[in-house]
């Protein structure tokens, strides 16, 4: 016996199986992202200090626009399929995939930017030494933030290495680092030499940096994994999977519909993530 209602909806519910399945899946995803958003709220309200304006608004806005466009495009693809315009469907589905990949690329660029951007918290003697030797230190010496009572400098290192920490520096036997400090308004000041003994803690803007970045990477990382999942499924349906259009067009259309529902959810999560990290 064939499994009923894989294509034709059941009259009582008005749904075919896949549709109910994907909505149940999304219910669990709401709980998953909901738990992370709740954790964001708990961490932020419980924090003494919460960084703001750490993200590139330009890239975030671009990503938001790309994802919204991709949702519009993917629905256009589904509409084309409903109207039996298969060539148009292929075009829109391809454009959707393109948008998704560009989104990931921009996200990758953002991650890399963060991985090469460092914050160095100084010991007390480090602070006094730097203040003595650099009369214009107020341009780049930051008042305490994530670590109460500890001043810090942020900036880039020579050669832009990824994800160094003070532990790794000590393990490699490095004695001194040369930091190009950030100044307000953008750009760098003159490079500053800091001895490893003067470093209380050093991390890039990595998950270990602070609760802000921890929850940022958790949320955007999980979201990116969902984007990748969506790309995999939609690529399959665009590529080898589209043969089903010739044999079972209605079932194929239903599959596309389920993937479009999923894609809207992924996009919706981003609409929430964006203000939480890029605006406030």
């Amino acid at each position: 016996m064939e499994i009923p209602y894989t294509v034709t909806p059941r009259r009582e519910t008005g749904l075919y199986n896949g549709k109910l399945g994907i909505w149940m899946f999304l219910a669990s995803e709401v709980m998953l992202f909901g738990a992370l958003f709740s954790s964001y709220a708990a961490l932020r309200t419980g924090a003494d200090f919460w960084p703001t304006r750490m993200m590139s608004l330009a890239m975030g806005t671009m990503n938001t626009a790309i994802l919204i466009s991709s949702s519009i495009l993917v629905v256009m693809g589904w509409t084309a399929l409903k109207l039996k315009q298969f060539e148009k469907f292929k075009l829109y589905q391809g454009l959707t995939l393109l948008c998704a990949i560009v989104f990931l690329c921009i996200k990758g660029i953002e991650y890399r930017q963060k991985f090469i951007h460092y914050e160095v918290w100084l010991t007390d003697q480090g602070v006094s030494r730097l203040m003595e030797q650099h009369p214009h230190h107020e341009q780049w010496l930051k008042s305490p933030g994530v670590f109460p009572g500890r001043l810090s400098v942020t900036g880039h290192l020579e050669g832009n290495p990824w994800l160094l920490t003070h532990k790794k520096l000590k393990a490699k036997g490095v004695q001194e680092i040369t930091l190009y400090p950030d100044v307000a308004g953008g750009g760098h000041a003159e490079p500053v030499k800091i001895s490893v003994n003067e470093i209380f803690r050093m991390t890039a803007y990595a998950p270990a940096h602070s609760s802000y970045f921890a929850i940022y990477y958790a949320l955007t990382g999980l979201h990116a994994l969902h984007v990748i999942g969506g790309i995999i499924v939609m690529s399959y349906l665009w590529g080898p999977g589209r043969r089903m259009w010739l044999t079972e067009p209605e079932r194929f259309t239903n599959r596309i519909e389920c993937s479009v529902v999923y894609w809207h959810f992924v996009d919706f999560v981003w609409l929430i993530v964006f203000p939480l990290f890029y605006l406030f």
Binding site: E2, I3, Y5, L36
Partner: protein, 612 residues
């Protein structure tokens, strides 16, 4: 015409009537891999889940026996298995003795294995998968390939957890609850493996619950309205909704704890934490309480996941063996829906000692008291169902009957834990261990036994041996009580859980009037350990019976040997691919037993005219 049955149920049951299937579609015989390993047939998947779960249950039981030796005879080498442990695990079992670290990891893994790898996969993965499509008259689950995937992901999750015993440092050792910061701070990789295993298990569970929910809603046979469903199916529906909605927060917590451990984040690590005399080199600012809230948000509904399918099994076994409908079917359905909903808002009763303040604890105490009402209603309905019944005291029925008072003890002993004023004394004591084991061990596990004895004839075409079934029952009942009842006393006298020496240190305290344990409380450990060994011996007849009966016991003489009304018995034995020989149409409710004026004392659901 190719009449080969495409199911891979235990083929030894040749003497039983075979399932023939003449369905449209290709009959090319599937390869061994597609039939037995990567099968998409829900019955095969159910059996896979069942066997895997029972093996994990034995492993979890074995871990507990080793722990019990340590509790009764702290510091003494373990007989027989001590040298084996040392050979396999090395220094952590030096001299064949259980070190505190090893005790902690066995304790954490015993809980994890029993809850996530044994009981839930058995009652949801095995019983749910096997029986739900049959009981609703469907040919299979809504998403057969998803079903196959969820089994394999479960298997891999379990294997990852098992592998963790053998890595340097051993398995996770911070309790099945894995509270941060301890779980993060312990410098071994066991917790990381645990977290990866949990992510896999949660994924498997989510895929499975999507499948069962969709199947129940969409694939009910024509005529099978909601109120004609067997109670077992209702129980599975509520259970799977709980799994669907409650697991993701634990997955989030698991991801965050994994990031804390591997990437050095501070989701759950508070500022200023000092470990081993050194301030911890993390960013701080995290909240250990956040982990607890996320964990218990799942773990409370999880206990209803543990009990509801068991109640479902009970409904089927009791109705069949009393020849009566379940009393209060509608009441039970609404109660299980209420139970499901309420279970999502009681979780912090596990956290009364975190300093939450009276307003919050009052809220959770109130919801906790309210949730006892639907549970009591369901048990009462079962008790009332017995009245006036023509009871068959076969092995499944014996287990079902014993469940009722055992669950009663377990449930009633939960009340002092639900009130924060009494919980302050009892929290994290052996009283808690007694309470939850009563509900799960002579509770759910008895229901599992009842289910195995009850449905074995449908799956294999043979009965399990009745005599040895009764032996298994009597011995298990006696030893379960001997193991767990003393724990209530130990807990009330203040013995704390998770102490690897069984409280021996506290029995030697200077001023026993102020702090410490009476020696007799600690000595009870010895009695409990002996009873645990007895309990292990009591399972031997079951294991032998299970395998011996496959080939050698009495074959069934009909497809419906228990003369039951529900649809799974109106199939060939074992059911073939597609389950039903002809399309199913349901005409009546699930428990039409002993209706006056009818020729037989049962009328199957799909029988159009009752025999007159």
């Amino acid at each position: 015409m190719d009449m080969q049955s495409e199911t891979a149920t235990l083929e030894h049951a040749h003497s039983a009537p075979h399932g023939h299937e003449a369905h449209a579609g290709h009959h090319a015989p599937l390869s061994f891999w597609r039939r037995y390993i990567f099968s998409v047939d829900h019955k095969v998947v159910g059996i896979q889940y069942g066997i895997t779960a029972l093996v994990f249950m034995l492993i979890g039981f074995f871990l507990m026996l080793l722990m019990r030796w340590q509790l009764a005879y702290p510091g003494q080498p373990i007989p027989v298995f001590g040298p084996m442990l040392e050979a396999v695990l090395g220094d952590v079992a030096r001299g064949g003795r259980m070190t505190p670290d090893l005790y902690n990891s066995f304790g954490a893994m015993h809980g994890t294995i029993m809850v996530f790898l044994a009981v839930v996969p058995m009652i949801v993965g095995a019983l749910g998968n096997y029986l739900v499509p049959l009981q609703i008259g469907a040919p299979d689950m809504a998403f057969p390939r998803l079903n196959m995937m969820s089994y394999h992901i479960y298997l891999w999750g379990g294997l990852v957890m098992m592998v963790s015993f053998f890595i340097p440092g051993g398995a996770a050792q911070s309790g099945w609850t894995s509270y941060s910061p301890l779980a993060v701070v312990v410098p071994t990789m066991g917790q990381t493996f645990w977290l990866i295993g949990m992510v896999l298990l949660i994924t498997s569970s989510l895929l499975g619950s999507i499948n069962i929910i969709t199947t129940i809603i969409q694939l009910r046979a024509p005529g099978l309205t909601w109120m004609r469903l067997p109670f077992f199916v209702w129980a599975q529906l509520v259970t799977n909704f709980l799994l669907l909605l409650a697991f993701p927060p634990l997955e989030a917590a698991g991801i965050m704890q994994l990031m804390d451990k591997v990437l050095g984040t501070s989701f759950f690590m508070p500022t200023g934490l000092v470990v081993g005399g050194q301030p911890l080199d993390v960013s701080g600012g995290g909240s250990p309480l956040l982990y607890q809230h996320l964990f218990w948000f799942l773990a409370h509904p999880e206990v209803y996941v543990l009990i509801l399918p068991a109640m479902g099994v009970l409904a089927e076994v009791i109705s069949t063996n009393t020849r009566k409908a379940i009393w209060g079917y509608r009441l039970m359905v609404y109660s299980s829906l209420a139970l499901g909903f309420l279970s999502m808002i009681v979780w912090a009763h596990h956290m009364y000692l975190t300093g939450m303040g009276t307003r919050l604890s009052t809220f959770f105490q109130t919801t906790t008291m309210i949730i006892s009402i639907p549970s009591v209603i369901i048990i009462t309905c079962f008790f009332v169902s017995l009245w006036g019944g023509s009871i068959r005291f076969n092995t499944p029925m014996l287990f079902a009957l014993a469940f009722l008072p055992m669950f009663g003890i377990g449930g009633l002993t939960g009340l002092p834990l639900g009130f924060s004023f009494s919980d302050i004394h009892l929290h994290d004591s052996y009283y808690v261990i007694g309470h939850f084991h009563y509900v799960v061990a002579p509770g759910t596990i008895f229901a599992i036994f009842a289910a195995v004895y009850h449905w074995y004839p449908k799956v294999t075409g043979r009965f399990m041996n009745e005599f040895w079934g009764r032996v298994h029952f009597v011995l298990s009942l006696i030893f379960m009580n001997l193991v767990f009842f003393p724990m209530f006393l130990q807990g009330i006298y203040g013995m704390s859980r998770r102490m690897s020496d069984g409280g021996a240190t506290y029995a030697q305290a200077d001023n026993l009037a102020v702090v410490g344990l009476p020696q007799w409380v600690v000595d009870l450990n010895i009695n409990i350990t002996h009873a645990a060994v007895g309990l292990m011996l009591a399972q031997i007849p079951f294991v032998i019976n299970f395998f011996w009966s496959l080939r050698h016991s009495a074959p069934v003489k009909s497809d419906n040997p228990w003369q039951a009304t529900t649809l799974e018995w109106q199939t060939p034995t074992p059911p073939g691919h597609g389950n039903f020989v002809e399309p199913v149409r349901v005409y009546r409710s699930a428990y039409e037993y002993s209706i006056p004026g009818r020729e037989t004392d049962f009328t199957p659901q799909n029988q159009p005219q009752p025999a007159r």
